[in-house]
Symmetry: C2
Subunit: 186 residues, 2 copies
């Protein structure tokens, strides 16, 4: 009941918008929550079972076709979701291996670190383009209450990614300066 598996709330939150299969839940996570949350099939399916046993969701098995299992939220589930939403967020956590390597950069040296930064920059640039596309689409499509909140999370992504790119430029400038060497000129 009151366990703290966040995947439960992710599922309830998504089902609160529309009935979905486990597979579709996974897709939603990978598309819309991707940059601030994740979840695997290995956690989704067992969580759906548990939520159903608990009466928080209901399942409907399709008789024809592939026999997919569509879940929808119950009143009990909605209450649980609402209770969780009202509680303060417990953990906002960033875990960037790139920064960890950068922190220990003295052992690797300037050039090696630049490789990491350029790779990071590329990845962010691509993801930013996607998020900017989302922004444009969502801004056209305003109206539904839900879209407003979705758009805010996307804008969060856009602004932090822009800051990342600004930082990448700065970091490269610092490291590409050749005036005080690290022994590389022979």
């Amino acid at each position: 009941m009151a366990n703290e598996k966040k995947i439960n709330y992710v599922i309830l939150g998504l089902l609160n918008h529309e009935p979905l299969t486990g597979y579709e839940i996974k897709k939603r996570i990978d598309r819309s929550l991707k940059f601030f949350w994740s979840g695997s099939f290995g956690s989704i399916y067992p969580a759906l079972d548990a939520l159903e046993a608990d009466g928080c969701v209901e399942k409907e098995e399709e008789k024809s076709g592939r026999g997919k299992i569509v879940y929808s939220i119950t009143e009990k589930g909605r209450t649980l979701l609402r209770e969780w939403l009202m509680k303060p967020a417990e953990k906002d956590e960033l875990r960037y291996e790139t920064l960890l390597k950068l922190f220990f950069g003295a052992e690797l040296g300037r050039e090696g670190i630049l490789v990491h930064i350029r790779k990071f920059e590329d990845k962010i640039r691509k993801e930013l383009m996607v998020l900017e596309e989302y922004t444009a689409n969502l801004e056209k499509l305003q109206g539904e209450e839900e879209h407003k909140y979705y758009l805010l999370t996307v804008k969060f992504g856009v602004e932090t990614y822009r800051a990342y790119l600004g930082w990448c430029g700065e970091a490269k400038a610092v490291l590409e300066k050749k005036d005080h060497g690290d022994g590389s000129c022979g």
Copy 2:
């Protein structure tokens, strides 16, 4: 040997700078890596044992006083660290419960979401002040190669946190507009 416990590299990276006790390693993590990495005693002490058994670190037990155990890195450890540093970063991951709640904000409503955003803003504002202090100190103290990389990670934090605060302002503006209600005026 080739297991992927990141805590091993955190420890090796820190010991590469200076010999430390397990307790001091924990302090370093909580002070300097805090905003992009974490680690508990429950992972540090066992990892130190394993690294020692592996010949990657050496321990020296203080005979007098508290009998603390000071670890230092070996050549093998340094090699392992260097190998890891050269590999591309595998995972840069952000997991913000605040954004998750925001995403499902339609169920909670405007006021509830504003509470989360204000709390988030406060936390970030405080952390930003700390990071800005670090920046000032590190900029004075330039010279050591290590400080340059440390400073870059701090600057990353400063710029992303500033972007967060900018976004908070924008988000509050969107949600505080009272013109299109959510049923709150009776």
